[in-house]
């Protein structure tokens, strides 16, 4: 939309100038002035181009995958048939074509990787351009730029957090204990960042849930105004049934749909990242939250994970302090 606005403005400015230039061509050369797109607009356009290219490749790869699976199924079917000259010939042909498709798929996967990297680069450039533009932007423009930045900010990869051994080895020497304490300190820093991130996530989803709750309440009040026979119909397959299904709603997808969003890992990704940090039940709650479309569910899962991570952080801190105390004790003359 912003690209279209930029193009429209550029066109509106350029058109009369170009027209005037053409009309005045017989009286000598004139300088034509068209509004050049800003750095932000150019960066946004680059992101859009990269997204489009990636989307096209994804579609192509999906089609090739479907074709490949079909060919494999045919090969499988041929293998189950009684051996014959005709079957062998057909099998060879199918195997050859499936091999070609597999090669094409490999090549496509490489192209997708390149396009994905290109998109990441374009987003990073867009974020840099937005940061530069924010310095001189008006308050209203700054809000829009901030929204853009949030959409383009490349999230830190959600990797599995692996915690170091926190058990105190009574036979370890002070140097080994120092190393262990340093590793624990790094882990504490990672967990502290994770607690802050989960807290932000919970608060964001809480705000969205409250907004949606208010919206739905207003809609339900409208429904009860007209309490006629046809207005209070018992509906088949209504929302309550979907709620009880506890899995009927669509999960939030980071990159699904029209455009992806950064800095919003799904519950499943968080579950993977925290699987070695929190208990199995919390991992399950995080994973299951993806199956709900309700921000309140996402917020509750984030809060539960935050509490679990904070508890683990506290345990680690205590163990580290004990290890450091032991190291000091060993160094005492």
């Amino acid at each position: 939309m912003r690209l279209l606005q930029a193009l429209a403005v550029a066109f509106a400015v350029a058109a009369p100038v170009i027209g005037a230039g053409a009309a005045a061509a017989d009286v000598g050369p004139r300088v034509r002035v068209a509004q050049a797109p800003s750095r932000v607009d150019a960066a946004i356009a680059a992101v859009a181009r990269s997204q489009k290219a990636l989307g096209a490749l994804a579609t192509e790869r999906a089609a090739a995958t479907r074709r490949y699976q079909g060919e494999l199924a045919e090969v499988d079917q041929l293998k189950r048939q009684k051996a014959s000259w005709r079957r062998d010939r057909a099998l060879r042909s199918k195997l050859a074509s499936s091999l070609e498709t597999a090669k094409a798929l490999t090549a496509l996967a490489d192209r997708v990787r390149v396009a994905d990297a290109e998109l990441t680069r374009a987003k990073a450039a867009a974020v840099a351009a937005i940061d530069a533009a924010m310095v001189s932007a008006t308050p209203s423009a700054r809000a829009e730029l901030a929204r853009r930045r949030a959409a383009y900010a490349v999230a830190a990869p959600t990797k599995k957090i692996v915690l170091p051994d926190d058990a105190l080895d009574p036979l370890a020497d002070p140097e080994e204990l120092d190393e262990q304490a340093a590793a624990l300190r790094d882990a504490e820093a990672a967990l502290t960042a994770e607690v802050a991130r989960l807290d932000r996530r919970a608060r964001t989803f809480d705000a969205a849930a409250e907004l949606r709750r208010q919206h739905e309440r207003a809609e339900s009040m409208s429904a009860t105004d007209d309490d006629g026979v046809n207005r209070v119909a018992v509906r088949s397959g209504a929302t309550e049934a979907a709620t009880v299904a506890d899995g009927a709603s669509a999960p939030p997808t980071e990159s699904g749909g029209l455009t992806g969003a950064a800095d919003a890992p799904t519950g499943r990704e968080l579950a993977t990242a925290l699987s070695a940090v929190v208990d199995a039940r919390t991992v399950d709650v995080l994973r299951e939250s993806d199956r709900s479309a309700d921000p309140a569910t996402w917020a509750a899962a984030s809060r539960q994970a935050k509490v679990a991570v904070a508890a683990r952080l506290e345990t680690l801190r205590k163990r580290r302090l004990a290890i450091e105390a032991r190291a000091r004790e060993l160094r005492k003359p």
Binding site: Q214, A233, G237, P295
Partner: protein, 370 residues
């Protein structure tokens, strides 16, 4: 009647406790409402205004295994009565019961069953035009795929009892299909969701279908509508589409097309309903919602506007072409309380001079929720 609803809620709460419910939620709300047209009559019939009190309480309990069978029971009771003025024929209580169970067969498939009942009990007028009971039961299958599409198919039966006139009672089979799809997910919980729905109801009425007793050609008069030999039967199709956005604001836009194909002369209609609403946060933690509904009805056959001729009712339960606009302000206090202020206007379609209708509601109330 309030006592009856309270007993039901209490029994349900006790039963849920015994059944080791994992979770329960309660909600109570009460307020005062100014209604400019309490009886919901057309302008020519002289609408009467009155202050009304509105109370409602609901409790739902749920339990089961998260990845296997889940169940939900809900009970609600409400009352709306005139606080002053000469209109007491609209005083009524309501009762709603809803029970559902669902069992996941796999990650992709959940099977469910659901039973519902909603009833309006008039307090002072046995033949209140808005008194009815609606019950239904259905079985459903919900499919979810890896691309986050959700499809629900439900089949069941539904029964409606219209208390003032049993001729309008009907029973029939229902089929409902809904498709839900998250269209976009953004940062900061921004999202766009889409939903498509289709519902088919076969309604077999207790009363007989009207037939046109006049020769074809001129516009039929009231005397042309006579009960025929066969019972009335309708086939109702309802198609809906809805888009919802959540971000800095919440918004939704919906369209509903209803086609009632009736065997009763003059009862078929096509209804189009467009609705939109936007909720935005305001300073001081206030949320404002603006809602607009536009409705247009089309009757393929002539409609009778006279009523109670020769003791025959020509009312159509579905014949209200009314649009509305509403503004609601809500603000929470603490974790459980919320204050609400709401104004709404309901009016007949533009150009409908014969059946001009207007109704305004102003409501102020409190809600408690756990």
């Amino acid at each position: 009647m309030i006592g009856r609803a309270g007993v039901v809620v209490g029994v349900l709460a006790a039963a849920s406790g015994a059944a080791a419910a994992e979770e329960w939620r309660g909600r109570a709300e009460g307020g005062v409402e100014y209604d400019s047209n309490v009886q919901r009559v057309e302008d020519r019939q002289g609408p009467q205004a009155a202050p009304m009190s509105r109370l409602r309480a609901a409790v739902d309990v749920r339990g089961g295994q998260p990845r296997r069978a889940r169940w939900v029971l809900m009970a609600a009771g409400g009352a709306r009565t005139a606080m002053a003025g000469g209109v007491d024929t609209e005083d009524a209580t309501t009762l709603a019961l809803d029970g559902a169970v669902s069992r996941r067969s796999s990650d992709a498939l959940a099977l469910g069953a659901r039973a519902t009942h909603y009833e309006v009990f008039p307090l002072n007028a046995p033949a209140d035009a808005h008194a009815f009971a609606s019950s239904g039961a259905d079985l459903s299958a919900t499919l979810t795929d890896a691309s986050a599409h959700v499809a629900t198919v439900a089949v069941g039966v539904r029964r409606l009892a219209y208390k003032p006139d049993p001729d309008f009672d009907w029973t029939g089979a229902t089929l409902a299909v809904t498709l839900e799809q998250p269209l976009w997910r953004g940062a900061d919980a921004r999202a766009v969701d889409g939903a498509l729905g289709y519902r088919l109801e076969q309604r077999d009425y207790r009363g007989r279908a009207y037939v046109n007793a006049c020769p074809p050609g001129p516009m039929p008069e009231a005397r042309c509508y006579v009960p025929g030999d066969r019972a009335r039967a309708d086939l109702v199709h309802v198609a809906t589409i809805k888009l919802s956005y959540t971000g800095q604001r919440a918004a939704s836009l919906g369209y509903e097309l209803t086609v009632d194909d009736s065997t009763s002369f003059g009862s078929s209609f096509v209804r189009q309903r467009l609705s939109g609403s936007v909720t935005t946060p305001l300073p001081a933690h206030v949320f404002a919602t603006l809602s607009v509904v536009g409705q247009l009805d089309r009757y393929p056959e002539p409609q009778v506007v006279a009523r109670d001729i020769a003791a025959q009712s020509f009312d159509s339960l579905d014949g209200e072409a009314r649009s509305s606009a509403a503004v609601r302000l809500g603000r929470g206090f603490g974790r459980a309380w919320q204050a609400e202020l709401r104004w709404s206007l309901h009016a007949s379609a533009l150009g409908d001079a014969a059946g001009a209708f207007r109704r305004q509601l102003v409501y102020a109330g409190l809600t408690w929720e756990r």
